[in-house]
Symmetry: D4
Subunit: 203 residues, 8 copies
């Protein structure tokens, strides 16, 4: 196990008793803990055996911080197209913070209101790496990638309906970006984006 | 048949002799003619039986103009993301012109170079209706739709590779546009966009 | 913000408290309000803080009218294939009306009973722009487009089962229409069709 | 082997020598022969060993008639949407004729020109069974099925481009037909439609 | 409306009050009634306003018989691969009976137990037309089509899991049948198969 | 490298010079060689540097046998639906033989002519493991799996057209087989089936 | 019925009364019973009429053992990528054991922690046949197939989200394995894998 | 334009005259040039107007170096699964080198021969960022991501056949990687991977 790095639990589909037991083991090893896709009842159960556990409601995450992690001066910018994309963005934010990174949020700046994006360009451009989270057509990643000369991790979300096909539209859009410097994560994979951005931010 | 409107031949998959015969019939009826998806050899054959036929190489179209069509003062803006999208755009342009419309071209202003789009916003905004032609991820339609308060006809092109799936990525992107006022044509259907834009421009 | 135009909330996936707060902000700015995909309980909550809010049950929409919008003499025809398509059609109707348009409804005139469509051709032909809403195979848009010389906005619905794939069949049918003058919206996107039709009706 | 019925060869992908040999065997057994998807050079080769072989160019079929087959008084109507669908329709026609059926052709009556279909309704309605062949959006089968009270065998063709996906659009359209009495064959399967229609016509 | 034919209601997605009202109208016109996809609570509601309504639990159908329909001597065979396909098969059976047809059921004779099919070949071969209902891989239709010289209407069901994709596997299997004389209905469309089989049985 | 086992080259997409060089290296190591997807010109080139190389035209394979491989008494049965599936079947046959196995071929016994399969059941049942190769709808694997109590390796082929989607129909059919004891290889992967069958035959 | 082999019930979608009745019949015939996809309430109902029925909670299976089945000395290794794949793996394990096989479990050894797989290579290599169960990207089957010279039955699971498409990603990965000796089962088909592995283990 | 960075031409689908003209313009501006997807005849034409142009045959790229670009001490590792993936890998290599980066190649180390990968782990682990290029099932990216604690840019290639669907299998595999620190490029997008890796290597 990598020093200071949290141990991670993916809660979806696991029953609460099982999760409690995994947490117990992790606590014994003295590591930081990060639990993703955790509903509130999972948190209540974890809190009983670990009172200092914190809940991040929007991100649906539980964190337990036992050890300090060094934090570089540079930061990660997390950008979203709409407000509905925020849960996925927050999963990235909490993951990155827990791994020892400063994060700047720039939310709800999608292409339907391009001026809001242009008005925040400074904070985005000054980041070391950018996470662009968008559902619907997912055009945000291309627009950010075209404006900014930094690596962009694009996260399609499953927000949308009809010919969105649960995020497929945004995923394909991002994979086909004609802007250079854009790489793509799985649909709704905020955790993966936060992890990868942390790797890059700490290079 | 609607007065002054050209008769249309879709040449793809038809053999040259058959096309010559169709043109002969149309000439007899005295109408304007518009032939789409016509390679150069089709043009040579048509020219033999109709010397005033004109060829539009980029658009791969043949036109024969026998009757004048009234042209309104307003115009249609045709916008493309890249240079590879120009053949589809030109199919729309020639169709619209043949149906009696003024057209303004704004080419190669895709999201990878957003400044070129912003620098041409005036000419786009002043159009009565806009045709946005884009391949790769197709984000152009959303960006134009978000900036401009006019109806946008989005035409995905089959330009791209890999997870582009011959235009599917751009098609889905455009159908899911979070900008209001965007309707979508079939992949590579420049003719249809030019026809529909003409209908709207003449309302 | 464009003068007289309503501010729009897409309610699906937002929690009621959040919606109330958005409405509060909008009311403060004095604008008209349009909320889509709003179940009855959302309406009850909005009514509490805004007693003049109206609910459109079939369309699942809430409207608040504070300012008058100018209404042109021309009208939009909204046509459906079946009765199951009516909710999507009504979303288009309420949107168009709220944006200041006259609307004529021609419902349940799908291809399985073509005579009903032919019997209503007058009212459809006299519209400035037509919205054709259909699920199952979506053939209505092609049939209307073939009969009428006005721009048709085709809205596939997710009504159907089996190889319908939640509206994909109707979507592909409409995109491939061999009638000229048909452009396509996302599956179930009545709002978008109403918005675009309003743009065209007001040109 | 069913009495009087032809033996059938599907030529696509078979080499000419192999086809000659199969034909030789069939001739020895004294049966009628039907070869589908046969290019002209295949015909030339077959003609060498069987001079009475006939070629049906549009249908890309070879037939050899050795025995008479009884022909009922009723007939099969074969309807197409466009002219590009005719090869598939002719495959059905030649198959049905070879199996001992009268056929009436009603070609190029698709939904983009509905009046041509309505003008031919009599001949369609009086058939015992109808084959409806259409590419693009494939709406023809629904329209015919809605107008006529006879079994309709719908054959989608691969004619189209873009979001047609080689006939998928027409296939899905036909499978989702809201008209009753429509059953569907594989894309471009004119042979299968002719065979099934013959079965029904002879009941 | 065609004489003696029932009026049909597709209940899925309609609310009970609406269905009661449709039934009331139909009763007033004195016709037979057929309601498909009707859960038990729909039946209870219909029974209140029409005590002679009958419920077919397996088929999830309601029937009201007011007029007699002539019944030919020939019959329709309805064959299923498994027991899970029976609801779809029963939808076909009740539809066909209500339209005035004799039906023979041959259930649970799929390819995993081919001897059961071979043991029932007589009753299948003697039918005028066969409905083959199968989920999973849908091979039943090909096997029946290969053994029997009668028209086969193949109905894929949504029974299955994983790479079955809700009936897509069976649908594609049936469309690609290498046996002649097989036409395909939409996934789970027992009603359509019963209707088409009745048309053919009465020719 | 496993003793006696051939070294394998997948020729598709490799240029001839490169293949010659790979063969040279393999010859130096003294091993048996198996080259798949090799057109005749590849064979000519290989023959020049290795005169004892043999070509298997139907299988499109080259073999070089330097060392003897032990051959068990049991055998592998290779069954095909049609004659068009034979190249894939032969790839399996030559692979299995080269790996030291007896093979029995049972070709062209698909479901459209079930009696041919039933007439060969003995030879299939007595095999230790069966390879079932089929295109179109791929029902053969289910039928064999239902009749025989031996492991069946199912190989879908890309033979077919339209809704076959280059082998997808047969692949899905085989994956959803309701017969027990069927496992599936990639489309057209005769080599893989021969390799796996050899493994099983030698257990 | 094959001697000693259990009779199998697939419980999903069957109602409890129906299952009880099927079990009653099987008990009368005196055979072993295997019920798959059985929730706990199904077990309670079966226990009432058959007190010696056992429940396998993880595998969601019910077994009734009346007759002994011979067990060979060789064993089947069942390997999983993650803990979420264990239910599918256990379905394979219980099936194989019930059919008379020894099984060794090697769970949670996926590619994200390759050292755990390498640390267990001995027990995997010594098996007669291997079942590799994995969701997410499904790379486990390729890795095992590349390391071990035994037949591998690959079972993709539906574990994953986003572009996993309910197991499609793992299914495609396994079908395209560049390791030789890998054959694939349907998504989540633990039963089929256990059955096929038993067949091979007993050769 | 970013200082020292080359100007890029995507040659596919552009005619040679057009490319010559673009190059002429770029030369006038004095920048470095990078042309991708350039066949040999394109190179010959470019060489005529720019004799110092270099051709990279495997990568199908043309480069013209006019200005020096600073090169950091750290390097990028480019890893491939098979030899058929090398052209895509070389596109990444040449792009990265042209942008001023050291590159280490580790080719043909896919999961079918895992020992070759393990034997090269040192050179991979010491890179600042890794590009993993793989076709077939694409498992390489997961395996590398699981072994190494550096950012991995995964590039699926279109190498494969059957259920590979032109790279879709590898793409989905990589998007679903259960190893952390893997982001994905479009199928065959070596250029994009080289560009993004350069960005990261220079942070
Ligand atoms: N490029 C095009 N894309 C879509 N539809 C077209 C195109 N060109 C022509 N058409 C339509 O095709 C019809 C002519 O088809 P055809 O009778 O086959 O020549 C015209 O009436 C147009 O509506
Ligand atoms: N189960 C079914 N599947 C497909 N079509 C149906 C079904 N039941 C009824 N229909 C068709 O739906 C029409 C009635 O639809 P509706 O007016 O929505 O109740 C009938 O005329 C039938 O053609
Ligand atoms: N027809 C085939 N289909 C799938 N895999 C094959 C085929 N032929 C050879 N292979 C595999 O490809 C490997 C050789 O690939 P290569 O090194 O590219 O020549 C062999 O080890 C086999 O495992
Ligand atoms: N192989 C490639 N794949 C994806 N994008 C590329 C590739 N080669 C060049 N590009 C991009 O395409 C742009 C040039 O496109 P164009 O103007 O059409 O030549 C460059 O700025 C690159 O961002
Ligand atoms: Mg950028
Ligand atoms: Mg706009
Ligand atoms: Mg029209
Ligand atoms: Mg009808
Ligand atoms: Mg038959
Ligand atoms: Mg079996
Ligand atoms: Mg192996
Ligand atoms: Mg890693």
């Amino acid at each position: 196990l990598r020093n200071g790095y949290p141990e991670v639990i993916y809660c979806q589909g696991k029953d609460i008793g099982h999760i409690q037991q995994i947490v117990q083991d992790m606590l014994r090893r003295g590591n930081n803990i990060l639990a993703t896709r955790a509903e509130k009842d999972v948190y209540e159960a974890v809190k009983k055996i670990c009172p200092e556990a914190e809940y991040h409601e929007l991100a649906r995450m539980i964190t337990v911080k036992r050890k300090e992690v060094p934090v570089p001066d540079t930061y990660i910018a997390v950008v979203t197209g709409g407000t509905a994309d925020i849960p996925v963005a927050e999963e990235a934010v909490v993951t990155a913070q827990m791994l020892g990174n400063k994060v700047e949020r720039v939310y709800d700046v999608g292409v339907a209101g391009l001026h809001r994006l242009l008005g925040n360009l400074d904070i985005i451009t000054s980041a070391k790496v950018i996470i662009a989270v968008a559902g619907m057509e997912g055009a945000l990643a291309s627009v950010v990638g075209g404006l900014v000369d930094k690596p962009v991790l694009a996260v399609p979300t499953s927000i949308g309906y009809g010919a969105n096909f649960h995020g497929l539209a945004a995923l394909l859009c991002m994979l086909n970006s004609c802007a250079s410097g854009v790489a793509v994560m799985n649909i709704d994979n905020g955790f993966g984006a936060g992890y990868m951005a942390s790797m890059i931010n700490k290079l």
